[in-house]
Symmetry: none
Subunit: 239 residues, 2 copies
DNA sequence: ACTGACCTCACTATTATTGGGGAGTAGAAA
DNA sequence: TTTCTACTCCCCAATAATAGTGAGGTCAGT
């Protein structure tokens, strides 16, 4: 490189990106900027789909996906229940499968040190942003301490871009529910049965049913449970 | 004030905080640093509990909670499905309830301009970090453009601290669902009835019921609809 | 070899929910 | 003024859900 791009430049380039290659370019630039082995952004979908970008070798990415390693990768498992960024050393590598996985990763050119930022979006979307390197513990601790804040920020920007590229999020036109329908859906979503919900709203159970039915039609739902699920995932109610 | 603290100082003070008052102090310091009317961090809990900190008046906070305004607050509703920080102007204030809410908020000393950052943690935890002020649109657009990145970062730090203070709320019913339970919840959430779901999974309806029941138990849900709603809002299933 | 978690299936009984109907009010919008 | 939407109430028969009981199998980890 003639000149290292600043973090500002990288973030701006990332903001401007309108293809996946833009994210790829940004991850390479960031790797050079931070002078580490690897940068990786990895979207983990509970449907099993996944995609990502980063500087891991194609071979490792293919191997990872072919083997469905996200099911046993301690980084994925460990981050899934966390909010805080995590150093790989803090994770649970005790199982035999995990150690075998780590050994194989290193053979594929992954460094022994890692720092991963879990990121979440709407509807349970989950992704990881990872910095990877090979060095001793003290140097790594120093690095993560120094760059923690910018890594969080960059992780956020990567995920923002990824959500932008994911088409599902901008789809369905939302027909709004009436206030009473929102009440009904909300109470059902927090576990009330019809009698309790009707009582809470001070209306008859029959009336409550009318709201449930009309909400069901508006939401195009096949039954009450479906209606509540749709109301939730469309953000029409907050529980 | 003798001297405005820098953002670095505020973040460091926040990191050091080991009581809720520390968050409160940080929000006041941040308000002064940014020279805005209000800073607010607001945890929206699936149990209906909520807490937060910030510079809103006690009266407004009490009013908000007493009226369960999180159910109709366009900021909450609008941010819930988003990942990106959002300017309040982009939200849907068209309903009568929303306008009445806004009017009342202004009477309680809330400014007309707002910028909210949605934040998510494990198990569907959701919170908002908001900056509020009163100024014209151009000035506000300039402000949000200028401070966007640091606001994202600060939002993250506030939530990190909040999760640290309230581990129970996240850790409480952490039990993950088994694969079959996830299948069952997912199929119910997309509108299948038991017969269809059982057929889809190629198991008997009796067996399906066992999964629904065990998922319901794990989720601490009172009925099937509640279980599906919880699975959704905790991000255990994606529809 | 044992423990525990998961997957699969069956029975009985009671209670709750659903999906069809229909009908009248009030208030806002056209 | 008419029309529309939201809100309120009611019946009935069929279906779904709940709460117990039980059993037997696999598979991973200690």
């Amino acid at each position: 490189m003639l000149k290292k791009p600043t973090l500002e430049h990288i973030l701006e380039a990332l903001e401007q990106a309108d293809t996946l290659e833009g994210m790829q370019t940004a991850s390479v630039a960031l790797r050079d900027h931070l002078d580490v082995w690897h940068i990786a952004y990895h979207w983990v979908d509970s449907a099993g789909d996944q995609y990502g970008c980063g500087t891991y070798s194609i071979e490792w990415q293919q191997r990872y996906m072919a083997q469905n390693y996200q099911r046993l990768d301690p980084v994925i498992i460990g981050c899934y229940q966390r909010f805080h960024p995590v150093d790989w050393k803090q994770l649970d590598w005790s199982s035999k499968a995990a150690r075998a996985f780590q050994k194989e990763a290193i053979e594929y050119g992954i460094g022994n040190q890692g720092f991963s930022v879990p990121i979440r979006g709407p509807n349970g979307q989950f992704a990881l942003f990872t910095v990877n390197d090979s060095c001793d513990d003290a140097a790594w601790a120093h690095f993560t301490e120094k760059h923690r804040r910018e890594l969080i920020l960059v992780a956020h920007y990567f995920n923002e871009k990824a959500l932008y590229f994911e088409p599902d999020r901008v789809a369905d036109p939302v027909q709004p529910l009436s206030p009473r329908e929102v009440d009904a859906m909300t109470l059902l979503a927090i576990g009330y049965n019809r009698a309790q919900a009707a009582d809470t709203l001070s209306i008859s159970e029959h009336t409550l049913r009318v709201y449930i039915e009309s909400a069901r039609f508006k939401l195009g739902a096949m039954n009450t449970t479906h209606a509540v699920a749709r109301a939730l995932s469309r953000g029409l109610i907050v529980v």
